[in-house]
């Protein structure tokens, strides 16, 4: 049984069909590259999985059980995390504060609770060590490199023991060396049995790390195949429409 399954999902905004009858299955420990041109429906698909939108038609199943989500918080409760393209970090806060943002640990009695700084620093430090990142929990995010910032955003998904992580263009705006860093992070997560959807424009990243590549064009799924049996040329053709459907 698939960890996450989308069955005939469509999303309409008025007359605009952002997503049309898309089905997709995701297994644990699998990296799926989700590709497509601007407006192909990638982010709509991501937002449906992340609980921002409800599908107009079709259903989402997690381990066979139907998921009905109204808010992003509910997706989180089901173990679905999203790493936003802009990373959604607060520059003025420390790495640990960002990791625990919205899920702060507190201690105290009854209604008198204070932030549990020491536990959050320690736990964030453990996660960074686990991610083999040099990021220090007490450093301000403002002073960090692109790769470190990515590590902070990814560390967020680790405090909740996410089972599915959606990554929106994680390698779009960072240097070559940092891209390698981020791809290593993704491998680490994959090896822990997490299913990853990698939304990306970058062909080399998808082909170096994904097991499967899914291509969307104008809201329809036009390809869903093993990376080994495809090629960057074929995928480019599928994205632009030069190739109508994958064989």
């Amino acid at each position: 049984m698939a960890l996450l399954e989308l069955k005939n999902v469509s999303k309409h905004f008025g007359a605009i069909h952002a997503l049309n009858d898309v089905s997709l299955a995701l297994e644990a420990g699998e990296v799926v590259g989700l590709m497509g041109d601007n407006g192909a429906g990638k982010s709509t698909l991501a937002k449906i999985v992340a609980g921002n939108f409800r599908p107009s038609h079709g259903e989402i199943r997690m381990e066979g059980r139907e998921l009905v989500m109204h808010r992003p918080v509910e997706a989180r409760q089901h173990g679905i995390e999203i790493v936003h393209q802009d990373l959604a970090l607060c520059d003025n806060l420390s790495a640990a504060a960002n990791v625990f943002l919205g899920r702060e640990l507190r201690r105290g009695v009854g209604p008198f609770k204070v932030l549990d700084y020491s536990t959050m620093y320690r736990r964030a430090g453990q996660i960074f060590a686990e991610l083999r990142s040099e990021t220090r929990p007490r450093d301000l995010v403002r002073q960090m490199s692109g790769g470190q910032r990515q590590a902070v955003a990814i560390a967020r998904t680790r405090i909740a023991d996410a089972r599915i992580i959606l990554m929106d263009e994680p390698t779009a705006a960072i240097s070559v060396r940092q891209v390698a860093e981020v791809l290593n992070l993704i491998r680490l997560l994959r090896d822990r049995g997490i299913a990853i959807v990698l939304i990306s424009h970058r062909m080399p990243d998808v082909f170096s790390i994904a097991n499967r590549v899914v291509v969307l064009r104008r809201g329809r799924k036009v390809a869903d195949k093993d990376v080994a049996s495809s090629s960057p040329e074929e995928v480019t053709g599928l994205i632009t429409g030069a190739i109508e459907h994958a064989l």
Partner: protein, 332 residues
């Protein structure tokens, strides 16, 4: 933030020094101390217990409001209505007590009014997404006008049976000869500092100012926090209004006129960043103190009070350009 302190410990040979010199409030504190030392020698009248009693008390009203304003500024907002809200709250207190109610009823009515106004400001800003500048500018006008309505634009100076209690509340000195308002200010500042750094609410205030979008997607209840923040700001104006009424012993409808600018100046001089994300309770006090020391010293040195605005204005500009000046002198 103490986060930066810890950060410094790992890197520098003199962590405390580099932490201190990176804090705007430290430099302002230094300016205040230098001014005080200078005035002690330059004049006979500065370092007298009478004058110091006056100086410390005079800046408390601005400082208390600046504490609330600092929280608003950290979220990236601004509250222009505080001067008028202070006036309205003073007037409500005065009118209610004048009618013969006891002081507790008066204070409850006054602070209740403040919370209601803060609630309206907050709801309009957080839920209708009207810019804070516009909402609080409107409230500046409304609150001042309501104060006139409540008093029929007269001066209220008789406060009914509890008059003595009210005058002691604002004008007395309960502990060690320190003016009561100073005690209130210190307690409120400690409370503000605690809330900002040790509670989840405080963390969210900084998060909203740092990156509001990030706060939303990580599940921070941004709207509720914003409403609370404007309620705190109005409440701080209300508290200052109650204390100031007790000190002055009379309320007029031009009380607190133009005070919002002085309060914002104090917060900014103390290190609050109008772009959001940065600010401290201590900075609010120090900023207020600096403005009062400037005001007081001009008087003692025999310089015309007309120069006051020039000095305060220079400090505002200096404070805002602080980061750039520092980075210019010590390139990263």
């Amino acid at each position: 933030m103490d986060i930066q302190f810890d950060d410094g410990v790992k890197r520098d040979r003199f962590p405390l020094v580099s932490w201190l010199t990176s804090r705007q409030a430290f430099w302002v504190l230094l300016a205040v101390l230098v001014a005080c030392v200078f005035l002690s020698f330059a004049t006979n009248s500065f370092a007298t217990s009478n004058n110091l009693f006056n100086v410390t008390r005079n800046f408390t009203f601005v400082a208390v409001v600046a504490l609330g304003m600092t929280i608003v500024i950290i979220t990236g907002g601004v509250d222009l209505s505080v001067g008028s809200v202070l006036c309205l709250c003073s007037m409500i207190l005065a009118v209610v007590m004048h009618e013969g109610y006891n002081i507790w009823v008066g204070i409850a009515a006054s602070l209740g009014t403040a919370l209601l106004i803060g609630l309206i400001n907050g709801l309009l800003i957080a839920y209708l997404e009207i810019p804070p500048f516009v909402v609080t500018l409107g409230m500046l006008s409304i609150a001042r006008s309501l104060a006139m309505v409540a008093s029929n634009n007269t001066v209220v100076f008789q406060f009914g049976p509890d008059q003595d209690k009210l005058l002691f509340l604002g004008g007395g000195a309960l502990v060690l000869g320190i003016a009561n308002p100073v005690i209130y200010m210190l307690v409120l500042a400690l409370l503000t500092g605690f809330v900002l750094h040790f509670t989840r609410f405080g963390r969210y205030v900084f998060a909203i100012g740092g990156n509001e979008h990030a706060a939303i997607v990580t599940g921070v209840p941004v709207r509720r926090i914003k409403v609370a923040v404007y309620m705190i700001s109005a409440l701080s104006a209300g508290i200052a209004g109650v204390i100031e009424t007790g000190w002055l012993g009379a309320v007029t409808t031009n009380l607190g006129a133009g005070m919002e600018l002085q309060v914002i100046a104090a917060a900014v001089i103390g290190g609050a960043n109008l772009a959001g994300g940065v600010g401290t309770a201590f900075g609010a006090l120090i900023g207020s103190a600096l403005i009062e020391v400037i005001r007081n010293s001009l008087g003692l040195l025999g310089i015309s009070a007309f120069w006051q605005g020039t000095f305060v204005g220079c400090f505002i500009i200096l404070a805002v350009s602080f980061d750039r000046i520092r980075n210019y002198r010590f390139p990263p």
